[in-house]
């Protein structure tokens, strides 16, 4: 792996993120049994910016994402090597529990999954309530704040106690984003958050992502090249578990330095 892939080089000043990187990934490898899903990936993810992970199916991008909040450990066969630092803290350190990592690194999944037994408001506050926040005023404030950030407040403010599954697919996904934001994570991971939605709902989610980066660090896995080009500041191209190229999105899409990146973003394979 060429060292140039480690950090976004020649970052134009206007797209350079302020401060230290949110995530510093070094030599990350993830194995499932004997199979290697991610091979020695090193990269820095900028704070308060959107980083897109692109690549063909099976290239390890989802596994990479799940390693950032240790969700890959749900698979008992999974094993990792290397290091991930979240604002300087080693998230794989021996005395760090996965539960604590996941409170700091939230996740939104491909398929919207609001809890079917709960109302809209209960879905938003569940992460707080089950982690011991009982103050009604705090919960009410956080509900409105999260739903506003997820651009859902105006649509649901009059029926907060309606079942979450009464919402449309796009609304359900924004509810899941609000639910993830309510626990105030530092980083938000999104695993193809719009791939199951219609174009209108997709564009709402993309607008939302661009809006959210003012306060959050966002890492998004996507199959959709246009989405990566529109919504992200940095793009990492994965292929067969390796990081092929990483840099500012405009550079990856207009003048990639690797032949494979160019072939993929122009639709010649994948």
């Amino acid at each position: 792996m060429p060292e140039t892939a480690t950090s976004p080089l020649n970052v134009p000043p206007e797209s350079k993120a302020p401060g230290a990187p949110a995530l510093a990934v070094r030599n990350l490898s993830v194995f499932f049994g004997k199979n290697v899903a991610v091979k020695k990936v090193s990269l820095d993810i900028a704070a308060r910016a959107v980083t897109a992970i692109i690549g063909p199916s099976g290239c390890g991008k989802s596994t990479f994402l799940r390693a950032i909040n240790r969700m890959h450990e749900l698979n008992p066969e999974a094993r990792m090597e290397g290091e991930i630092k979240l604002f300087g803290d080693d998230i794989y350190s021996r005395n760090v529990e996965p539960v604590v990592v996941r409170r700091r690194v939230g996740m939104v999944f491909q398929k919207s999954n609001p809890f079917p037994t709960m109302s809209i408001v209960d879905n938003v506050t569940v992460g707080l309530r089950l982690n011991g926040v009982g103050n009604r005023k705090v919960l009410a404030e956080r509900t409105e704040q999260s739903l506003r950030m997820a651009a859902l407040w105006d649509e649901v403010k009059d029926r907060l106690h309606a079942p979450a599954i009464s919402l449309s697919g796009g609304q359900q996904q924004r509810l899941c984003i609000a639910r993830a934001l309510a626990v105030e994570p530092e980083v938000l991971l999104m695993d193809e958050p719009a791939s199951a939605l219609d174009p209108l709902a997709t564009s709402k989610i993309e607008d939302l992502i661009v809006h959210l980066k003012k306060e959050y660090t966002i890492v998004i896995v996507t199959h959709n090249m246009q989405q990566a080009a529109r919504a992200s500041d940095f793009t990492a191209f994965f292929y067969l578990g390796e990081l092929v190229e990483y840099g500012p999105t405009t550079k990856i899409f207009t003048s990639p330095s690797q032949k494979r990146t160019e072939d993929y973003v122009t639709g010649r394979f994948g």
Binding site: N69, M71, L74, V99, V100, V101, R102, R103, R104, G106, M107, F109, K111, N113, F115, P116, T117, V126, G127, L130, N131, P163, I165, C176, R179, A180, V183
Partner: protein
């Protein structure tokens, strides 16, 4: 050339239809016959005294099954206390924690236990509780029914928990919610109606058990304490039905009618729960 062949195929199709329909009727017919006889004989034998009076001594007319009716409810409550926590938590272990190798053995054991003849359960609890306690008791009767419920409740709980999409577990864990809270607040809550359905069906199944109670309850009078013998409807039916007296036969029919109503009521409750579940899904 094709016509006779075509007719032969039509005939085979018709034959299959008739045979399967006949088998379907054979499934329904016994239920209708049982219903018809029990309702006809049982309903006419019912009266107010049946619900309020104790069995009369041999030779006296009248009397009722008040103690057996109450006894059956007491035994079912005890069975639920014994069977539901162990069964549900065992099912949670199988679905949420166990390893595939251990699960295989636990499932295997549960399936074998499901197939153990009910009289065997009675003998086992006789040896474990009745003999050491020097006598039959309501406690022993409740325990034997509860033990019989455990494998039933465990397997249905496991099945309905497995139906909860993995996405809900992932979503909860990704919020930084601890695993046990995820299981209790998200997974079990989502599957609660299915679990209740499984518990009700297991209760309906053991409500009519007679053989295990023969060894354990004593079937006498009123039980004022759980350590005293207790009566139960199925046992009372058994005792009355094999007696040579017409009056007792009538009481047995009435008891069968009440037991049938009880099991029917539980099954209707189950229908109510399952229907509700499908409605809330759409």
């Amino acid at each position: 050339m094709t016509a006779p062949n075509h007719r032969w195929r039509q005939f085979k199709d018709l034959l299959m239809r008739v045979v399967t329909f006949a088998c379907a009727i054979l499934v329904v017919a016994p239920l209708i016959l049982i219903f018809y006889h029990i309702v006809k004989q049982g309903f006419s034998s019912l009266n107010f005294a049946f619900f309020t009076q104790l069995p009369k001594p041999l030779g006296e007319k009248g009397g009722g099954m008040a103690n057996a009716i109450v006894g059956t409810f007491v035994l079912l409550a005890e069975a639920a206390v014994v069977g539901v926590p162990v069964g549900v938590l065992g099912g949670v272990f199988l679905s949420e924690y166990g390893s595939s190798k251990l699960n295989w053995w636990v499932r295997f054991a549960a399936d074998v236990l499901n197939g153990v003849p009910s009289i065997t359960w009675g003998v086992v609890v006789y040896g474990l509780m009745v003999v050491p306690m020097h006598g039959a008791s309501a406690l022993a009767g409740g325990v034997v029914l509860g033990l019989m419920m455990i494998p039933l409740v465990m397997r249905t709980t496991e099945e309905v928990l497995q139906l909860v999409p993995g996405g809900y577990r992932e979503a909860a864990l990704a919020l930084g919610i601890a695993k046990w809270k995820t299981i209790v607040q998200i997974v079990i809550r989502t599957a609660l109606k299915g679990i209740v359905t499984g518990v009700l069906l297991a209760l309906a199944r053991v409500a009519g058990e007679t053989a295990p109670l023969l060894f354990t309850t004593g079937n006498l009078g009123w039980a004022h304490k759980l350590t005293e013998p207790i009566a139960a409807i199925p046992l009372q039916i058994y005792v009355y039905a094999i007696s040579p007296y017409d009056d007792w036969h009538r009481q047995a029919w009435a008891g069968a009618f009440i037991l049938l109503l009880l099991v029917l009521a539980i099954n209707v409750g189950v229908r109510f729960f399952t229907r509700d579940r499908f409605q809330s899904k759409t």
